[in-house]
């Protein structure tokens, strides 16, 4: 398989996308008014690679596309498109300095896309694109759509219409060639039967393919696809994968795609770039990226109870992570633990993906993080989704926390700062966030080992009153606090370190305690909002809430089902995961 070999060969040396980039995005920044949609983004697209640009909604992927294809003029940065092999660094610098838009070199050509209007990017630099919401010429036939794509060569052939009006034979020949080319791509996309139907009449999946065929008709060197699999069913997605591979392998076209469907991304991508809030958080081979904790954190979510990109919660997670860091393993161990599962998982994933009937579950899987029903699905799930599940089902936080720690501290800033206008601040924000847990570590850790009354070193720093806690749960073990909506394994553990083990303890919290815990856990207000105390009162009475019922049924993946008694210590989580 091409992907695998490529990754291997470039494993240690410079990866293909750095050695032979067809497109380099350098320090790209795009501001809309005060909003930074993309901040100082750098990445390369390797020649002959399929490169995926992924990230959550609003991460700025489409903005990057629009900058690359000239629909937006970037605020800052350089976008270099290269025809011909190699980095051509000298030529790039020469063109940049010269003030030209592009220059042909003997090796091919260098194009500075940020200087070119959109139609020249397509026409001269040979960058084709498709659109998130399909933009076909609905009232024109499929064939006409493909002929419009060959506008520029045909214009020349028609003598800029003069020869065409006079009916010169040279134009007729050119038109026939254009039709042949169109038919070639119609055959590749299984649309030749529909050639004379209006494009608006095609079913959705066909329209998506037609858009790709149309883009290919301009004879691109780089094909940019904006969510090509959106709205496709799994079978169509699989066909799309084949088509993209065909385009890459047989036509030597590099592909840059935005995609939400991790199935598509992971199967066909040679290289994955992950954006979050306009900032690159990961960049590498698909295998490496999908198990990258930053990616998991940003894209697939951290925790059931975490509301995405609410900064305080990120901090919260970061903190726990830091604590766990101190409690258990050393850094090197973490790294190996992180890599191992990725490797182990890969063959399985590939195999099941190839088997068609399982495809639908695979398709649905990344969006599901469900517990009980899923053994079969787990097998086919994409690694990143699964890693989350596993940790929640088996090893609440230890294994996951170190990874999320970095990711979260790294991206704490952007959530707010991106909107505020300084994505660059994100880097700065990362440092203090990292530093904080480090100082807290010694305070939190020794607590359980000492007095029955838990001592928190800087307890006085938080408003309100530290709740009463016991070193150990009462006989019979602590309650399953995750049956309270809003408390997941991470928070449960943190509460345990405060000496809170039972529902009745939480039920007894007064305003002051709530305030203190809220501040300590860095999510003031959430306890009230989620009504932990009210829930705890019910549960302490032995009653049930709608949420606890679901937890007990096993429907809440990141809560711990069925456990009502003591919480077992799961310090061996990492081993289990690997």
């Amino acid at each position: 398989m091409k992907t695998a070999t490529k990754v291997k060969t470039t494993g240690d040396a410079t990866p293909n996308w750095d050695a032979d980039p067809v497109l380099s995005v350098e320090h790209l920044t795009m501001r809309f008014g005060g909003l930074v949609a993309v901040g100082d983004l750098c990445f390369n697209v390797g020649r002959g690679d399929i490169t995926a640009l992924i990230g959550p909604n609003g991460a700025g992927k489409t903005t990057v596309f629009n900058c690359v294809t000239g629909f937006y003029k970037p605020t800052e940065g350089r976008i270099v498109m290269r025809h011909g092999p190699g980095r051509q660094d000298d030529a790039v610098e020469a063109v940049t300095a010269s003030g030209l838009k592009w220059q042909s070199t003997n090796a091919g050509g260098v194009f500075l896309l940020e200087r070119m209007p959109d139609h020249e990017i397509s026409h001269k630099a040979k960058v084709a694109r498709t659109f998130q919401n399909i933009r076909l010429f609905g009232g024109m036939t499929v064939l006409e759509n493909l002929l419009v794509a060959q506008h520029n060569p045909l214009m020349v052939a028609s003598g800029f219409s003069l020869g065409g009006i006079l009916g010169l034979p040279s134009y007729k020949r050119a038109q026939q060639e254009a039709i042949d080319k169109a038919v070639y791509w119609l055959e590749r996309t299984h649309l030749v039967e529909r050639a004379d139907d209006p494009a608006a009449d095609l079913p959705y999946g066909d329209q998506r393919r037609l858009e790709i065929a149309r883009a290919m008709c301009i004879g691109p060197q780089l094909l940019c696809l904006d969510e090509p699999a959106a709205g496709l069913n799994p079978r169509e997605s699989a066909e799309l994968n084949q088509l993209l591979k065909y385009i890459r392998d047989e036509h030597n076209v590099s592909v840059l795609l935005i995609e939400h469907d991790m199935g598509v991304v992971m199967e066909i991508s040679d290289h994955v770039v992950v954006l979050d809030y306009g900032v690159k958080i990961a960049d590498g081979a698909a295998d490496a990226v999908k198990s990258d904790p930053k990616v998991i954190a940003a894209y697939l979510g951290v925790d059931d109870e975490a509301e995405i990109d609410v900064p305080e919660i990120r901090k919260d997670v970061a903190k726990v992570a830091a604590e766990s860091d101190g409690a258990t393993a050393a850094g090197s161990k973490k790294a190996s633990a992180r890599k191992a599962p990725a490797k182990a998982r890969k063959p399985a994933a590939r195999k099941t993906k190839a088997a068609a009937p399982a495809a639908d579950t695979a398709f649905a899987q990344p969006l599901m993080a469900t517990g009980a029903k899923a053994p079969a699905k787990r097998g086919t799930a994409k690694a990143s989704a699964r890693s989350q599940e596993k940790t929640s089902a088996k090893a609440p936080e230890k294994a996951r926390a170190p990874k999320t720690a970095k990711a979260k501290t790294g991206t704490t800033g952007p959530a707010k700062t991106a909107a505020a206008g300084g994505a660059a601040k994100s880097a700065a924000a990362a440092t203090p966030a990292k530093a904080k847990p480090a100082t807290r570590k010694p305070a939190a850790k020794p607590a359980p080992a000492e007095a029955s009354e838990i001592k928190i070193a800087n307890s006085g720093d938080y408003p309100g009153k530290q709740p009463h806690g016991t070193r150990k749960p009462r006989a019979g073990g602590g309650n399953n606090l995750t049956r309270i909506k809003g408390i997941g394994p991470a928070n449960e553990k943190k509460l345990n370190t405060l000496g809170t083990w039972h529902f009745d303890q939480i039920a007894a919290w007064k305003k002051a305690e709530i305030e203190w815990v809220g501040a300590y856990l860095s999510f003031p207000g959430r306890i009230e909002r989620e009504e932990w105390v009210k829930q705890a009162k019910v549960l302490a009475r032995g009653g049930e809430t709608a949420f606890s019922k679901r937890v007990d049924k096993g429907d809440v993946p990141t809560s711990v089902p069925g456990r009502r008694g003591a919480q077992p210590k799961k310090t061996t989580a990492k081993g289990g995961k690997a």
Binding site: F137, G138, G139, M140, T141, H151, N152, G164
Partner: protein
């Protein structure tokens, strides 16, 4: 949770619309409205009288108008609005078949019309010898509008750019010829290409800065441009003679032969008897050929990359740009070519009239040409022909309704009602067929089988 949950028996949302009672009630409402609307206009008339304005009450006319509305609405309610669905939907469903048949018959129709147009002057001279001049003159007028419609069709129908100032190019063409003739003594045939060129240049001059604008803004700027040209023509007295207009514009010659009586004239050269009708026939064939050229070029262009780019532009401008099409140049070409044909038609107009003044180039002309294009069906060449015949022929026919004076008495002047009826016809045809008479689109390239494209697929442009 919300609204009361009481169960009511299953019933339709409204009462039966067919019941006589409902119809009468509705008609009464309409009559009341007519009374309100008509009170200050039909019921009262202000007239200039010595010492100010005089007020005249016309209760009779007012009451009659109310009764007419009541009766009309009642009849409509009882016999036309048979279902709850609006009348337009009924009509379009009922007639959708006829349109496809019309489209199928298009080819036959096209050649039939062509053949008829070819022999038309002789048809008139043979069958209507008494009124042939009038009819041929009308045919020339209609043909001029057909040509203008075809020219504007490139801009509005194909490229999807809403142009409300097309008459400006018509004026540029007419004045170019008139001024060239007056100051430089140019003849028609020499001035014709120059006029077209000048109009195209004006098209580019206007288009260059404003083509960035979105549809409606483009519309108002083109309208403004049309007005600017007219105002300049009106006020630049030294050059254009302002409101007096330019007269004595030379007639076209037939390869150097003037169509005049006596020595050296066309009749004299060919040794036939002079008849003033010959000039009309000659003019008819000039505009016929000009129109045919317009049609031929348009049809050819549609099958060329530039024409496809126009249509693609109408469908989706952003997609066009992503495919490497220079949209500004493409729009400019459409504007320039459309303007050029407008210019040709303008010089023909000047030579036919022999006299032009800014009066002939008001916004109403632009509106009529646009209406012809839209009523005919955007992008449809044959549609323009039908619409021009119906609308222009229609209004001119209204001039001949003298017999109505016998019905309504001698005070009744049907010519007065001409434009009122024209306006109403515009509204009614549009409501009846919002997409125009011929709304299907013919593909410009075919792989296996030519399929017409339904109007609901085709975009109108100017909205992106």
């Amino acid at each position: 949770m919300a609204v009361s949950g009481t169960k009511t028996p299953v019933a339709g949302p409204q009462g039966d619309p067919n019941s006589l009672q409902a119809s009468i009630k509705d008609a009464a409402m309409a009559a009341f409205l007519a009374g309100v609307l008509g009170f200050f206009f039909i019921g009262i008339r202000t007239d200039i009288a010595p010492g100010g304005l005089d007020l005249k009450m016309r209760w009779g006319a007012w009451i009659i108008s109310i009764l007419i509305v009541f009766a009309g609405r009642l009849l409509l309610n009882l016999f036309v609005y048979k279902t709850r669905r609006p009348v337009t939907r009924n009509l379009s469903i009922g007639l959708s078949g006829s349109e496809s048949r019309l489209a199928q018959a298009g080819k036959v129709l096209k050649w039939g019309l062509f053949a008829f147009a070819l022999i038309l002057p002789f048809f008139f001279t043979t069958f209507f010898p008494g009124r042939d001049r009038q009819f041929i003159d009308l045919a020339i007028l209609i043909m001029t509008y057909i040509m203008l419609g075809w020219g504007l069709n490139i801009v509005v129908g194909l490229a999807g750019l809403l142009d409300l100032g097309y008459v400006a190019f018509y004026a540029v063409g007419a004045y170019s010829f008139a001024l060239l003739a007056q100051y430089l003594d140019f003849g028609f045939w020499l001035a014709l290409p120059l006029a077209g060129l000048l109009a195209a240049t004006w098209g580019v001059i206007l288009g260059f800065p404003v083509l960035r604008l979105r549809g409606d803004y483009l519309a108002i700027v083109t309208l403004a441009f049309g007005e600017i040209i007219r105002v300049v023509l009106l006020n630049w007295y030294e050059f254009t003679k302002g409101p007096d207009g330019i007269s004595g514009i030379p007639k076209p010659t037939f390869f150097g032969l003037e169509l005049k009586r006596g020595e050296g004239g066309f009749a004299d050269f060919f040794g036939i008897a002079y008849d003033p009708i010959q000039r009309f026939i000659f003019l008819y064939y000039i505009i016929f050929i000009l129109a045919l050229i317009t049609n031929f070029v348009t049809m050819r262009l549609r099958r060329l990359p530039i024409g496809r780019a126009w249509e693609a532009l109408r469908e989706d401008e952003i997609a066009c740009r992503s495919l490497g099409i220079n949209t500004r140049n493409t729009k400019l070409t459409a504007f320039a070519i459309g303007a050029m044909f407008g210019g040709f038609a303008g010089s023909f107009f000047a030579t036919r009239q022999g006299f032009i003044s800014p009066e002939s180039f008001t916004f109403l002309e632009s509106a009529i040409i646009l209406a012809i294009v839209v009523l005919g069906g955007l992008g449809s060449q044959i549609g323009v022909v039908i619409a021009a015949v119906v609308m222009i022929g229609g209004i001119e026919m209204l001039r001949n309704l003298g017999f109505l004076q016998q019905v309504f008495g001698s005070g009744f002047d049907p010519v007065q009602y001409r434009m009122l009826i024209f306006g109403l016809a515009m509204v009614l045809i549009m409501v009846w067929k919002p997409r125009g008479l011929i709304s299907t689109r013919e593909p410009s390239a075919v792989l296996k089988e030519k399929k017409r494209i339904g109007a609901d697929m085709v975009a109108q442009g100017e909205g992106h």
